[in-house]
Amino acid sequence: MRLIINGESCDLPVSAGLSLYQLLQQLGYLQIRSEDAAVSGNFIVAVNQQIVSAALYAGTYLNEDDCIDILGAITGG
């Protein structure tokens, strides 16, 4: 299945039925840890420019050519 992840085309060795939760786990996002619990898991996901809350990751199934954006905090002015 082909997905656009953070603007880059990615061919994944899976057929239909991949959930957003599974994708994030495969990519390592769900394994991010910090000593400060308040800053763990600090990212936001949008599928086709629609924000998906964490509670819906497991129930969100991805389709061919879906665009997944995963954004995190950066410094800014």
Binding site: N6, G7, L27, G28, Y29, Q31, I32, R33, S34, E35, D36, A38, V39, S40, N42, F43, I44, A46, Q49, I51, S53, D69, I70, L71, G72, A73, I74, T75, G76, G77
Partner: protein, 285 residues
């Protein structure tokens, strides 16, 4: 007393309130461009700012892990926010249309768990001048969605009036283009904004290079200043943050005290009446 401004200091102190929230300081600081996360943290600690601006971008898991690690920007910033009481102010930097800015603001609200947004829609990549039309369109929608919108804008009076009428919590005209350090390029227009929008919260955002320029903005009656590069690019950012803090406090105190009106003719400070040679003529000593 005839003073430049007619600010009537409120008896209850000098608290900056925006959208019903108390903002702890009139110095607002950006978190970007510092030589290291530790230096950024030190600068924030020295400034004790009212807001610290942040942003959001696409990131890999490895990049995110770095941010939240013990010595990462986000980890250290979070610690400083907790100790200083500063609020997070996410921005929509890099957006060129209302549609982009609205989506990024929505994502920022989810990510940072705040309704505050520094709304930035760039209209010209060379000067980083805000796009007034896209800015108004984005502000209208974000206010409707419950955001506390602080738009980065030009110093155009009608634009600022329009943004305030839409429900923006404050307006933040530029002093000069972002990162230039040129200071208050158009003081006449900034004074006009203060005079014509007496009830509005006005913040000079961008272009400040020296503490004296921040002080001038506060003396003029601006409610706060937002800056980044002048502190982050100093040889000693923490010391510069402290200098800006003192300048902002001094400027505000001067505004509230009432600045004298400038005049063209000299006027002696020391009385001449009673001099032993009063009206003495010729052959001076």
């Amino acid at each position: 007393m005839n003073t430049e401004n007619n600010a009537a200091p409120d008896a209850g102190g000098d608290v900056l309130q925006i959208a019903g929230e108390t903002i702890g300081s009139r110095l607002w600081l950006g978190s970007s461009l510092y030589p290291s996360p530790q230096v950024m943290g030190d600068a924030v600690a020295a400034a004790t700012p009212g807001f610290v601006t942040v942003s959001l971008r696409r990131q890999s898991a490895a990049q995110l892990q770095e941010q939240v690690s013990e010595h990462g920007h986000w980890h250290l910033l979070h610690q400083q926010l907790a100790s200083t009481g500063a609020k997070l102010l996410p921005n929509t930097a890099g957006c060129h249309s209302a549609r982009e800015a609205i989506l990024l603001a929505q994502m920022a609200r989810e990510l940072f768990a705040t309704d505050w947004i520094k709304l930035e829609v760039i209209g010209d990549d060379y000067s980083l001048q805000p796009h007034p039309l896209q800015l108004v369109e984005a502000a209208r929608e974000l206010v409707a969605q419950g955001f506390k919108v602080l738009p980065y804008c030009t110093d155009d009076l009608v634009l600022c009036q329009t943004l305030l009428e839409l429900g923006c919590a404050a307006v933040m005209p530029w002093g000069a283009p972002i990162g230039t350090g040129k200071g208050l390029m158009n003081p006449y227009q900034l004074k006009t904004l203060r005079e014509r929008l007496p009830q509005a919260v006005l913040v000079v955002d961008a272009g400040l290079g020296k503490p004296s320029q921040a002080m001038a903005a506060l003396e003029m009656g601006f409610d706060a200043v937002l800056l980044n590069t002048a502190v982050a690019r100093a040889h000693d950012p923490a010391a510069m943050a402290g200098a800006f803090k003192q300048a902002v406090d001094g400027g505000r105190a001067a505004y509230r005290a009432g600045l004298m009106c400038e005049r063209d003719q000299a006027s002696p400070s020391t009385p001449t009446l009673g001099l032993p040679f009063w009206h003495q003529t010729g052959g001076g000593v």
